[in-house]
Symmetry: C2
Subunit: 202 residues, 2 copies
């Protein structure tokens, strides 16, 4: 889609959580839409059920999301701990946009009715597939010069989000990904010994 894109392994290696983001974009908004649509189209889903959904919020919509999240947290976080919460929320709000990830639960329920033998599995496979989509969009945004992180203020904000952006009732909010131009590099990352995580039998 563009020419400055990394090879697959480099993209995997260099994808990181970036918290310090600015309200700038290295690309046109149409390009953001294009890479999100590309990810949604090509990321696999159980039985090609295509239940994953993405909602991109930019400009006032992005600010509104983090304002409503801040207000929601203010109601439940003790007053003496709210300062650090406010700082975190200001950080996300200072980014360029946010991708909201959903699963359309009507798709999951349809699969459960069609194939009752896998009824317990479909909700788990939807979570796995949604994780794949989060990963592909995260890494895609990085190809475009953005940094991003993955946040989870669901289910606290679900009702407000659905009402503000007229989201279908069957869409369940799974994650929020603020993104913007990186204003500071990723932090250090610890790795456990890979031998404790991978076995090979040959």
């Amino acid at each position: 889609m563009t020419t400055q894109v990394k090879d697959f392994y480099t993209a995997v290696k260099e994808r990181r959580t970036i918290y310090t983001l600015s309200k700038e974009s290295p690309v046109a908004d149409e390009r953001i839409q294009e890479v999100v649509e590309h990810a949604v189209k090509h990321t696999p889903t159980a039985f090609n059920s295509q239940g994953a959904r993405a909602v991109v919020l930019l400009n006032d919509h992005h600010d509104k999301l983090w304002n409503m999240t801040t207000e929601t947290l203010k109601e439940i976080v003790p007053g003496d701990k709210f300062e650090s919460t406010q700082e975190r929320m200001d950080g996300f709000k200072n980014a360029y946009g946010t991708v909201l990830f959903f699963e359309d639960m009507s798709i999951v329920e349809g699969l459960q009715e069609q194939m009752p033998v896998f009824a317990d599995n479909f909700p788990l496979w939807a979570q796995q597939s949604n994780g794949m989509l989060q990963y592909v969009i995260w890494t895609s945004l990085e190809q475009e010069g953005f940094g991003a992180s993955l946040q989870h203020y669901n289910p606290l904000i679900d009702e407000k989000v659905k009402s503000e952006w007229n989201i279908p009732d069957s869409w369940k909010l799974i994650a929020q990904m603020p993104f913007g131009k990186p204003a500071a590099p990723a932090g250090e990352k610890d790795f456990q010994p890979v031998e404790s995580r991978v076995q090979i039998h040959k």
Copy 2:
């Protein structure tokens, strides 16, 4: 890591489910181990908890997995429907190897004790993160010239797998990915209109 690797977007677009696989490998077994370890190392996990696990089965180990899966299914699939099951199992057995995906539930439980406010979320985030790892390994294997598909015979085979390969008790089996040299192209894939899956508010 190699030079014939696709750019990120092309890798995303071209990753497909490949069922017809041969018992050949385009690369050395050490290279398979290397790309699996690279994926496990760099795929993100909630709070960098690194609970995802991968076990690669090659040669007799791979054959044994599909023999034991076939035997397990023979006990529960009605006799008149077993022929198609046997054919499916023979297809997987005819591949070069299998990656087993696990989550170490002791990591999830540790997080639940440390951060009880997110206790209900950690198992879901582990599923999402495991999905990310499945995706990265799937797409990595394709960079090396393999085809792969994602299968789920858990929990039916969990106990036999754990006992055969001495898997720690706390590792929960999530998915199985048979891979081999593609012997037939991917099938047709239907795509829903992307407008029904992605919204942008700007």
